[in-house]
Symmetry: C2
Subunit: 159 residues, 2 copies
DNA sequence: TGATTTATTGAAAATCATTATCACTATCAG
DNA sequence: CTGATAGTGATAATGATTTTCAATAAATCA
């Protein structure tokens, strides 16, 4: 119901390992959380996943993990700055690994087929930093998302 | 379930009146749809309203209108380019009037208290236009949204 | 204008992503 | 190793949005 995190936290995914990062905030390292992060690291290319997709993937590769745990782990990881929450589709959240480059990377979504293309644009993030500074906000995250219709769907619609 | 609009439409809110705009696409002018647009024009020129809030407002001013009708009208108006759908909070959609300036206007949201500040930045919209053109997409809409913690909530959290 | 067609409405039920509950288990600090 | 407690899985609950359907009203045209 409330948007997390409850208090501002650094957005960096530092060199320390997962256990250290978790314990520092009173969270524990569990095999389930490890599996989720491994999935993101293995699937680095097609890397926008919903809770349901993460669950499917893990179950498919033989893991025993409940959907509740996925949701809880996602919240923790967003709070710790390990994952980024994205508003790509209108009915669910997507997540991706939070790298040092994430803040310069934005999304172009086809509303017909759901295809997502990414692009880098440093100037946009700079605007976000500037706006938050002049207004005294603590910056947590910013997203630039373009909604449109991809070439494939355009021809599909014309026929 | 599906993201609208189903087919690309011009985003301009031209000079023609509501009835003409609706009929052109096979929709009908109803008193409910008029009331909703009037609400945006009278009370909410600079506000962002959710379906529930629109319903509350209209009922409060004595209108008889159901929440289903609000949702249906919002979809139609977004499809016609009269309203803009915003992802400000994580659990519901917000809407605002779509003016010629809307595309240059972006949002800074406090995740603690929900306060929204707006700012203009033409360069961001230009990036959107450029990206869609080079990739052959038809541009429907783009949003730059910054999530952070406002000064008030910062002091509140410190205490 | 009046009849015809069919989009729209209101009320209620359904959907579906996400969250909460709770008994049990596993992690971590000492 | 042990106690305190965070985390898990199964399932129920929540809540925004969508759908259903019979009744109503807007657009079209004779
Ligand atoms: Zn497409
Ligand atoms: Zn991405
Ligand atoms: Zn605030
Ligand atoms: Zn706005």
């Amino acid at each position: 119901m409330m948007i997390e995190p409850n208090q501002p936290l650094p957005r960096t995914n530092s060199g320390s390992d997962l256990k250290t990062v978790l314990n520092k905030e009173g969270f524990r390292l569990t095999s389930q959380r490890q599996k989720i992060l491994e999935l993101f690291r293995d699937i680095a290319l097609d890397h926008h996943l919903s809770a349901e997709e993460i669950h499917h993937q893990l179950v498919a590769q033989g893991e025993k993990i409940s959907i509740s745990t996925i949701y809880r782990a996602l919240h923790v990881m967003v709070r710790l700055g390990l994952l980024q929450e994205l508003e790509l589709a209108e009915d669910r959240k997507y997540y991706e690994l939070s790298t040092p480059f994430t803040s310069h990377h934005h999304h172009l979504v086809c509303v017909q087929c759901g295809a997502v293309q990414e692009f880098e644009e440093v100037s946009i993030s700079d605007v976000g930093v500037g706006e938050t500074q002049t207004r005294g906000f603590v910056l947590l995250n910013s997203q630039f998302t373009i909604y449109g219709v991809c070439p494939l769907c355009q021809s599909r619609l014309r026929s």
